[in-house]
Each structure stands twice: as structure tokens, then as C-alpha cells.
């Protein structure tokens, strides 16, 4: 069964994930294809996310499509008190697909139940951001040649990091070994450890960001945000302990790559950027190909 919408990464089977990744590889070879001729795509950003929006709009433009929408809810009827349902039902009349970013969790699922055109979730609060997960998977497969049997290290905010949770769910299909490096306050939540227990997958938790990374195939860095700490002293103490520096990469595996969903603040030292193991900017570029793949797949324009 193929899905009309893309709301949560868990909606996709392994086969459907591979289909998207293969399509994305095709778009990487040949990014400009006029497949969206005469199609209008709505990009509804109820909260601003410049990076994600530009990536989608770039993908639509390279496919020759047009887009309509708003970049934050203050410039739309939402500020007049319109319900999400009414907004979606109205915009569905104007477009062939709705790409939406919304601060409330579950909003994309709800939209998919009231919309007559496909919904693509571009982030719903702390819940899901499946197009990010697919571009992460694309980047991992491209750099490692496979998704199977890899050792992946997540570093930073593992408690609130939505990209971490979704990627963990997706990678659990590929016999991954997980390593979690985080401060005590930002540990990976129990429900994800339970999830991995149930799947019989190996995982290890660490407090120190040290030479244990020498076993990694992928290091997935995340930003530690000040507002996540109840105690500002704790934040000051922690913020510099989870910073990746060039020297730390010396003993890592030759195939290892550093990923980051961006934006970065200080958690990856800028001297890492020149290292051939730094992959985060290429990862962002892969986001355009992956989103081209998702849009054309859902609209049935690519078999």
C-alpha cells in the first residue's frame, strides 16, 4: 500500500523508503526536470523555518512547479482565529499538494484527514519531520553504500531532538547499533530505549564525548539549546562539553561521516568544516533531491 500523504516516517515501509532514496539518486544526477508543469504546491509555514522552506521551494522550482503559501502564521488568516481544518480545506482548493510546518504536534495527521490533496509534513512541533529523516537516510546510504549493520552515534540533545527520534525509528529497520552521547538532562527518553529493547537492537549510553567515537560509521550531531535547561548554570557547564573538534576525528574510521540537521551554533567547531569527514553541508544539498523525490512520488509522477 502506498501512502497518499507523508506525515510520519513510521508510515513508510522499508520498500517505500528505498523507492524514495533511489528516486533521489536519480534527481541528484539530473536535478532539473519539468515534472511539475501546471502544478501548484502550497507551502504553509505556520511557524518560520527558513531552511526547510527554501529547500522545498528549491525542489519545486527545479521541477518546474509553482508554489503559493505563507512564511509564518502572522501573515495569514490564522492570526484572525481560523481553525487549522478551515485553512487546510480552503488551501486544498487552490493547490495539488500541501507542504506544512506547524508548531502543534499531530497537526499534520489531522490535516491529512481533512484534506483532499496530499499533505507533506515539514515538521509538527516536537513530533515528526519525515522529509528530514529521509534526507538523513539518503546521506547515510550515499556515504556508507548501505543502511545495514551500521554503528551510529547521536550526540547532544537526545531528549527533545525530533530528528534524532525519527532517524532512530527509521534506522531500527536496518540492524543498527546505537550510541547515545548526551548530558544527563538531555538523555534519550525511556520510550525509545524500550522501543529498541523490543526490537532486540544494541544501544549504549555515554556521558562523555570522548574517543569512543572511533567505532562510529556516522556521528549525528545536534544542537543543545539553552531553553532546555531549568538551571542556567548547568547549561553553561554543559554547552562546551559536547563540541566536536577536528582533533577528535583523528582516530575515527575512514568511512566515518559527520551529519548535522543544521543550523549549527557551536557544537561543531568551524575547523571541522574542511575535514573530508564533515558531510553536513552536502547533507543539506541532498535535502533538495530527497524532497524532489518525495513530491514526485506522492503525486504519482515517477513510477
Amino acid at each position: 500500500m502506498e501512502n497518499k500523504h507523508l506525515v510520519s516516517i513510521t508510515d513508510y515501509s522499508k520498500e517505500e523508503i528505498f523507492k524514495i532514496l533511489d528516486l533521489a539518486a536519480e534527481f541528484e544526477k539530473n536535478p532539473n526536470q519539468n515534472l511539475l508543469d501546471n502544478k501548484v504546491i502550497a507551502t504553509l509555514f505556520f511557524e518560520p523555518s527558513t531552511r526547510t522552506r527554501l529547500s522545498f521551494e528549491s525542489a519545486i522550482s527545479r521541477l518546474g512547479g509553482k508554489y503559493i503559501g505563507f512564511t509564518d502564521s502572522s501573515s495569514s488568516s490564522v492570526s484572525k482565529g481560523e481553525s487549522l481544518k478551515d485553512t487546510i480545506m480552503t488551501v486544498a482548493n487552490y493547490s495539488d499538494m500541501i507542504i506544512m510546518r506547524h508548531p502543534i504536534e499531530g497537526s499534520a495527521r489531522w490535516a491529512s484527514e481533512v484534506s483532499r490533496v496530499p499533505i507533506v509534513n515539514a515538521g509538527d512541533g516536537a513530533n515528526q519531520h519525515p522529509t528530514q529523516t529521509l534526507l538523513d537516510l539518503y546521506s547515510i546510504r550515499k556515504t556508507q553504500g548501505t543502511l545495514d549493520n551500521l554503528n551510529i552515534y547521536f550526540v547532544g540533545d537526545l531528549k527533545y531532538g525530533r530528528t534524532v527520534h525519527s532517524l532512530l525509528q527509521a534506522m531500527s529497520m536496518f540492524n543498527t547499533t546505537f550510541n547515545f552521547i548526551s548530558p544527563e538532562e538531555l538523555r534519550i527518553p525511556d520510550e525509545y530505549k524500550l522501543f529498541l529493547d523490543k526490537k532486540g537492537l544494541k544501544y549504549y549510553e555515554h556521558r562523555d564525548f570522548s574517543d569512543i567515537i572511533s567505532h562510529a560509521d556516522i556521528i549525528y550531531m545536534t544542537r543543545i539549546q539553552r531553553e532546555r535547561f531549568s538551571d542556567p548554570m548547568e547549561y553553561e557547564k554543559t554547552k562546551n562539553s559536547y563540541v566536536l573538534k577536528n582533533k577528535m576525528l583523528e582516530n575515527t574510521k575512514p568511512n566515518m561521516k559527520v551529519l548535522h540537521p543544521l543550523p549549527r551554533v557551536n557544537e561543531i567547531h568551524t575547523n571541522v568544516d574542511e575535514n573530508e569527514k564533515a558531510y553536513y553541508f552536502t547533507q543539506a544539498l541532498n535535502g533538495v533531491y530527497t524532497r524532489q523525490a518525495i513530491i514526485t512520488h506522492i503525486l504519482g509522477l515517477k513510477k
Binding site: S8, K85, I104, E105, G106, W110, G125
Partner: protein, 153 residues
């Protein structure tokens, strides 16, 4: 004594259902879930009765009312150990235990304040992820609410 003559007839019903082993603290939730406040049949409640297993328990006797499993299983969220006695002609003809359903709809509130169901008028939907110590996962925000934090509408 005269008192005996005035005793209310609550101990037995001719036909109907007795729901026993409800935790006393959740009696009114059970009443809500089953919509007993809208039923015009004779209903008797007892609460804060001693129970070895539950501490304090409640009991509901419903004359001429019989439930289908799907309906009665809804109370499993708040009374997982409830037992039903089906009464016909003053005799217990069947005993049933409630079973936590796989999916529930419209009974519980999602514990996540940032969930869309707490912002727009949407009927909640959950899948039950743990039946022993009841925990439910929201169909919309995908967050898990456990029995301690569960609010019933």
C-alpha cells in the same frame, strides 16, 4: 425493629448487570464513560466499600441493562480489574472480566498539552501500547500517556 422494614431494596436485582471491583476513586469516571447519567433505568451505586485487592472499591447495579463487550471494555482504562455479573431471574448466569481494548476513541484526553486534539475540536484516538499498566499512544501527536496521567472526558 422497625428499621428492618424500611430497608431499601438494593441487595438484589431481578435482571441486569452488576459491575464489581471498580476502584472507588474511579467510580464517577466509569459512570461517565458508560453514560449512566443519561439512563432512565434503576441504578444503584455503592462506593468506599472495603476490598482486599483494591483497598476501597465501588459497585454498580444496573437493572434491565446489558452491555455488549465493546462498550463495557471502555471502562478497562479506569477499572482494569472490574468484574461483571450478568443476572437473569435473580441468578448469576454469566461472569465476565473487562479487557483493555486495542484502540480507544473519544474517551481519554491526550496528556500532551501541545497535541492538536487539545487545540481543535477533534475526537481523540489512541492505540493501547501497554495493557498491564495501561498506556496509550495518541494517533495524532504520537506521544504516550500512562494511566497515572490519563484524564477521562
Amino acid at each position: 425493629m422497625e428499621m428492618n422494614d424500611k430497608k431499601l431494596q438494593v441487595s438484589a436485582i431481578k435482571d441486569g448487570t452488576v459491575i464489581d471491583h471498580i476502584p472507588a476513586s474511579n467510580l464517577f469516571k466509569v459512570i461517565n464513560i458508560l453514560g449512566l447519567d443519561k439512563i432512565e433505568k434503576q441504578i444503584t451505586f455503592g462506593t468506599n466499600l472495603e476490598s482486599k485487592r483494591l483497598g476501597l472499591k465501588a459497585i454498580i447495579k444496573l437493572a434491565d441493562i446489558f452491555f455488549v463487550d465493546k462498550e463495557i471494555n471502555k471502562i478497562a482504562l479506569v477499572a482494569p480489574e472490574a468484574k461483571l455479573n450478568i443476572i437473569k431471574d435473580y441468578k448469576v448466569v454469566e461472569k465476565k472480566i473487562v479487557e483493555v481494548p486495542d484502540n480507544i476513541s473519544g474517551i481519554a484526553k491526550c496528556g500532551n498539552p501541545k497535541c492538536i486534539t487539545n487545540h481543535e475540536g477533534i475526537t481523540t484516538k489512541f492505540s493501547v501500547v501497554s495493557k498491564k499498566k495501561v498506556a496509550i499512544k495518541c494517533h495524532y501527536c504520537e506521544k504516550i500517556t500512562d494511566s497515572e496521567h490519563m484524564e477521562i472526558f
